[in-house]
């Protein structure tokens, strides 16, 4: 019969070593970037798709919508397309957890003596960095569309992209930690990502919508991430009042127009909630 002795006192072992956890965050982040750089098809597809949308929608719809006081639909939709590229890249990065699981690497991470928080934060920052980079690259198309950029605007856009990317990556990590099989990924894309994108105000103004659509856009968290981006971009453009009325920005809730700070607050809260959920769902022991 085996006798188990008194357990050893776990000196420093069970304490959280902040420096070590930060190194873990950095390492997980670095891995995301290495993997992204190594898969050229991913870089290409997350660039080509939004560009395609920009030209098809921008030019195609412009003729239909027409120009209001010199302001075109292309200009209106441009911030939405930038956001779209950020969101898609963020979700793709986050959902790579499904691949990590399929190929076993997830296990290497979750059995390590580090906190799940560090792993999820590293993964999130990695995905968010890539997504922000992709969105920012889209800005090179701005002159082509006639969107005027200033240095200050570029920094504002990067900040908002980063916020949007963090929110969407934590959301993606949460969803991915619930997907057990690669096939589930397709379902997520079809049933979650595309509806969220199309019903977010990325592609149309949020005023004067039919009631059902207005409700859907208001409960869609992406709405509150995309609108601030459009607002800062438009603030830097010359917009006659007629154009501002036609291509309106801002989200109103119960007749109250939300300031940018409230929208940003919403997105922060959204990111925090899904960060917590993602950490809780990440590699639980059996």
């Amino acid at each position: 019969m085996t006798v188990v002795r008194l357990p050893r006192t776990a000196t420093a072992d069970e304490h959280t070593d902040v420096a070590a956890e930060l190194r873990t965050v950095g390492m997980v982040w670095e891995r995301e970037l290495i993997r992204f750089v190594r898969t050229r098809t991913r870089i290409l597809s997350s660039f080509v798709q939004p560009v395609l949308f920009l030209f098809v929608l921008g030019y195609g719809m412009s003729t239909l919508v027409g120009t209001t006081a010199g302001f075109t639909f292309k200009k209106f939709v441009f911030p939405g397309i930038v956001a779209m590229s950020v969101v898609m890249t963020a979700i793709f990065s986050a959902v790579s957890i499904v691949w990590d699981r399929e190929f076993g690497f997830l296990r290497e991470m979750v059995v390590a003596p580090v906190s799940r928080m560090s792993l999820v934060v590293g993964k999130t920052l990695g995905g968010a960095s890539i997504a922000t980079g992709q969105g920012t690259i889209m800005l090179v198309l701005a002159p082509l569309i006639g969107v005027h950029l200033t240095v200050a605007l570029v920094f504002e856009v990067i900040g908002l992209e980063l916020l949007m990317a963090v929110g969407m990556t934590t959301f993606g990590v949460f969803v991915a930690s619930r997907i057990q099989r690669i096939e589930g990924f397709q379902v997520v894309m079809q049933l979650l990502l595309f509806p969220m994108l199309f019903l977010s105000g990325a592609l149309f103004p949020l005023k004067g919508l039919p009631a059902w659509l207005a409700v859907i856009t208001r409960v869609n968290p992406l709405t509150y991430a995309i609108d601030p981006l459009r607002r800062v971009v438009f603030a830097a453009q010359h917009m006659p009042p007629a154009a501002a009325a036609r291509f309106s920005t801002g989200v109103s809730l119960f007749g109250y127009s939300l300031p940018v700070s409230a929208e940003v607050g919403f997105v922060c809260a959204f990111a925090a909630v899904f960060l917590a959920l993602a950490v809780a769902g990440f590699g639980r022991p059996e």
């Binding site: 085996t2 050893r8 006192t9 776990a10 304490h15 390492m27 898969t39 296990r107 290497e108 022991p285």
Partner: protein, 343 residues
């Protein structure tokens, strides 16, 4: 995974011995239920420091579940276990930092190079920065992969990937190395190489090794073997002692008159059977008896073959069943599928 606070030593308890004076692994009545299935039942054993200890059993016997509990990846539903003196339920992080793990399924990132996989591991297991380069060089040398350091893991063969995993598991100088079916799906040559690696790890790094296998021939590399079947240990001893418990050697005699030899040996009190190709005698210590057997048979003997019991026989003896090849084939095809998907 839980954030466990450090357990205070009770007043008057002796201070913990550095490196823990006790055994490397202790399991006491370890039990794991999954719903109605009792995957592991009342499993108890100790593994001494520096020992190579094998859990031998067919697929579904509960080997992986036992390993998972010892590695803090599955919560025991009964019993207790400690690794390097730390309780697996109460001090999981301390346990994890002291163990190396190689799973049945591969856990490498094949889009990273060998070195990148190792660096990732070094950070997660807090290998001091100043030691990382030396440790990486050392573990790659241990498994003879030094020249593949910069290669992407996707270019590795199954055997190389396995050896890289073993190298990685040794990076943070663990006290105990757990290898779950380390050789499954590898060709015999690669399996032999793997065993060279494993025995070298023990010799040169002094690590305690607990491994699982369903290959009988492999269990003989171990110092001690626990035979596990349907979640319970049915025998635990050194390979030699286990074979000794399966009392008889078999001595096969091919003679000029097999039936006469059979009846004479039976008359002399031997357990004997007339087989198709000759006479089969069951007796302890067959080699010592050969001369006497030939003498008693009293007919011309063309051929003698003494067969010591193998672990196959041992398994059969303790469980009444053979570990069938089909298990090995299924495990093999599972691993092949896993690799195929990586492409």
């Amino acid at each position: 995974m839980t954030a466990t606070s450090p357990t205070a030593a009770p007043l008057g308890a002796p201070p913990p011995v550095p490196g823990g004076g006790g055994p490397a692994v202790e399991a006491a009545r370890l039990t794991k239920r999954y719903g109605d299935i009792e995957a592991v039942r009342d499993v108890s054993f100790d593994v001494g420091r520096g020992e190579i200890f094998a859990l031998l059993g067919p697929n579904g016997a509960g080997k992986s579940t036992t390993v998972k509990m010892l590695c803090t990846l599955a919560r025991p539903t009964g019993g207790r276990a400690a690794v390097d003196g730390f309780d697996v339920a109460r001090q999981p992080k301390a346990v994890r930092r002291r163990i190396g793990l190689v799973f049945q399924e591969q856990t490498l990132d094949d889009q990273l190079t060998a070195e990148e996989n190792l660096r990732f591991h070094a950070v997660l297991y807090r290998v001091p920065k100043a030691e990382v380069d030396a440790r990486i060089a050392r573990v790659l040398d241990l498994v003879a992969l030094t020249d593949r350091r910069q290669a992407l893991v996707s270019t590795f063969s199954g055997g190389m990937a396995r050896r890289l995993e073993i190298a990685r598991s040794m990076l943070h100088t663990p006290a105990v190395l757990f290898l779950d079916e380390p050789t499954v799906g590898l060709d015999p040559q690669t399996r032999a190489l793997m065993w060279e690696d494993v025995t070298r790890l023990r010799r040169e790094e002094g690590v305690t090794i607990l491994l699982t296998t369903h290959y009988m021939d492999e269990a003989e590399y171990a110092d001690r073997i626990a035979i596990i079947d349907h979640g319970a240990i049915v025998a635990l001893d050194t390979p030699e002692a286990l074979k000794g418990q399966v009392a008889a050697d078999t001595v096969e005699l091919t003679t000029g008159d097999d039936s006469l030899a059979t009846s004479r040996l039976a008359a002399a009190g031997f357990r004997v059977r007339l087989g198709q190709d000759g006479v089969v005698v069951f007796t302890p210590d067959g080699e010592a008896h050969v001369a006497r057997l030939i003498d008693i048979a009293g007919v011309s003997v063309r051929n003698v073959h003494v067969h010591r019991p193998t672990l196959d026989d041992v398994f059969l003896h303790f469980t009444g069943r053979q570990i069938r090849e089909e298990h090995a084939d299924r495990a093999l095809s599972m691993r092949m599928r896993a690799r195929a998907r990586r492409r």
